[in-house]
Symmetry: C3
């Protein structure tokens, strides 16, 4: 199979499937652009006509209120038409192939497909087959990649800390199965983050060849020491059972973020979580809602980042067709 | 728990959770404003840009085609972006708390939440926790409250009768479990309606301390005599079984509105029903579709009332932030 | 029951339920208009404000990603508000009659209902009952009619062949149960197509009194000879079992379109399919994706045709109310 690139000949994004291979300049451009779409609570969100006349199709096979809504609002606030389809589902009902569904929507002049599916490789498979003017954005791909989440995490850290070079970032939880952790590690590595630490029980650590730049430790108390950023991951109940702390209370004791444990981090450390949270399992409510939490800022940045990606893709297409 | 008010310091609506405690002036202002959004069939409905740049999220946990569609159209015709989420459902799938779902959407710059849920207290619970610029509108709360339905009922009566002071209004059916009856009684009492009568089998009458201003009677023939307004409620099949008329035919005989029974009311009496109707149970088709029925006008007024509430809330927020 | 006409007094469409009875001039006008809404891939699709202020309700009882999305995009690109309702379903939940659901939405100022339902007669039943300014468009009715599919098929043939008079059009597959075949035959007959052939196993042939102008043959090899247009139909697995070729492989051998079989048609023959395709059953992938396939063009024309029908209906209403 031929090499696939999500970049066009000019080095701009044609698709966004993964943060791997994006250079620091492109990521910084996207974060800068996203920064211009942020606003304070109570202000009407910035809008533009950058995507006027464009059609965005949100194809979400997994239930995902938050990410689907975030993409839908990003599209609407840029002036696009947005349609939502539980498309993998309805395709299965009638037995149509994924690609025929995509070709059908493409023929209806859909410009951007936002795809979330549990099947690894699906976004690239679609991106390889769409026409030259059509773009694919991954809304979360199996355990592999969640690029807009990685960007919103980077933007949130940048806003709080002003940079990455001197930071210690600790990611905690089910790293093995986490697309959030993989995309965060990718973008943080590209941005030359000082130190990246992974904290997880042995069973939830990734394979040795993954996360090559990260320090691994099984002890949360050790991993959180002097951290600037503590990024908690969602843990699924059934995954807890497979660990050496096989019930939620014992898991919480070892790998939950409490106020006491947070005091081991730097005093100005920020606390992140991609949501949805299991309060009382991987994170205590007083921390999730406390002064060091930037969890809601992450969500707000999610819309801004998705607007930035869509606007960048539109500008890139316009530049190609001039 | 601190006292909660749905009004802001200026006495305008910040939220709309209940009609209890709204004074007659505020209700009349809403009805007047709604009157300006009405139009005749075949005319294009009035539109405005009052909510341009606003985002409305419809969170409906119960299936409700009509009310959800009514709020969605009200939002679109005021220029807002509207997103629909089966949010309680999808939250349950991933186990996220209601409040985290709300905070997530709030962080995406949702300005108004329209909430329908079977859990009593949920709208107020949400309203207590959202940020100062965010509003909550109840789209129907358990058996307790359905404020926009109460307003549309009042508007429909006002249009037909010109006022409330000399009217006899008879509400018939499962009053015990009806949010429609409670909101109607609230607004009609505030507007000083002449006489409010409740007609129901004993098992479906509300507790003695509820509906304090209303006259109760078990006989429909007595309760409808000389009525100006006959408001029929939807009866659920399983509720009929618990009454002294335990099958639908016998229930219909005692508590169904037929043309014969309607003749006991005033000749110019109007017939109302919140929908969806059980034709042949609580109401006969010839009455539902007859010249005294204002049932479709109620639905049309529903969109107008919801536009009025949204526009009022937007104007109130703008006034607060000037 | 009184005669029903989908045309208004001026001979323009008020509803579109069937292509039967539409004269060639009206069909050509719709196809011409649709032609103006077509664009090349990569161009932003043409938009207008023809339906600004209108409300379109898509009521789809069957799962249908493609047709529902096509109507939704057509409405949005004409400036209308579009709402989607799984309305038959949610009506059943609460036991409301179809007509009450329609009256409710009509009272909310819905201007056009797009209806797909498995129940024959439902679109006409609704069209007979809506108010004079409201229109009904069938999005597919049982096995009987799929008028916008018929129009998009005609437009696709016209674009490829420039006319109909000298053409041999062969329709292949489960003609007995196909609304696509019936609407195609209707429009092709009105447009005086040279020869219409039906190819199917005996069990899937329509009743003798249907398709009066068509030539029938059980042999695909005979039916495809010198054809200009080969229109394949979707075959459902359970229908194959009832034929003389009771498994998909044997069905494919007799009634599947392969490259070898396609060579029996004219060298410039086009291949059509309404989708979704069963690749390897009624059609081979190399044909579906080959140079003679116009299958994606059909989908693109679908949006254009639906825009044309909506714009025609809006212009007709405006003309009636002047």
């Amino acid at each position: 199979m031929a090499e696939f690139s999500q970049l066009d000949a000019g080095g701009r994004l044609r698709h966004l499937l993964s943060l791997d291979g994006l250079d620091a300049d492109l990521i910084r451009e996207l974060l800068d652009r996203a920064g211009t779409w942020c606003c304070r609570p109570g202000e009407l969100p910035p809008r533009s006509r950058d995507l006027q006349g464009w059609t965005i199709a949100n194809l979400f096979a997994e239930p995902s209120t938050r990410t689907r809504a975030s993409f839908e609002l990003a599209a609407l606030r840029l002036g696009a038409d947005a349609i939502n389809l539980d498309v993998m589902l309805s395709s299965r009902v009638k037995g149509e192939s994924v690609l025929d569904t995509i070709y059908t929507l493409q023929a209806m002049q859909v410009d951007v497909f936002v795809i979330r599916d549990a099947e690894p490789g699906l976004p690239e498979y679609v991106a390889r087959h769409v026409e030259g003017h059509v773009s694919v954005i991954s809304g979360g791909e199996a355990h592999l990649s969640h690029p807009t989440q990685g960007l919103l995490d980077a933007l949130t850290i940048l806003q709080a800390k002003g940079g990455f070079r001197d930071l210690v970032v600790t990611i905690v939880g089910d790293i093995r199965h986490s697309r959030v952790a993989r995309s965060a590690a990718s973008v943080l590595t590209t941005l030359a983050t000082g130190e990246l630490r992974l904290v997880a029980p042995a069973e939830l650590m990734p394979e040795p060849d993954e996360f090559p730049t990260a320090v691994r430790c099984e002890s949360f108390d050790a991993g959180i020491a002097h951290a600037d950023v503590v990024m908690m991951l969602r843990i699924q109940k059934e995954r807890i059972a497979a660990t050496s702390q096989p019930d939620p209370d014992r898991y919480h004791e070892r790998y939950g973020l409490s106020a006491a444990r947070l005091r081991r981090a730097r005093p100005d450390a920020i606390v992140m979580h991609p949501g949805p949270m299991n309060r009382g399992v991987e994170i205590c409510s007083d921390v999730a809602d406390g002064p060091q939490s930037v969890i809601r800022q992450q969500v707000a940045n999610g819309v801004a980042v998705r607007m930035a990606v869509l606007a960048h893709i539109a500008a890139a297409r316009n530049a190609r067709t001039l």
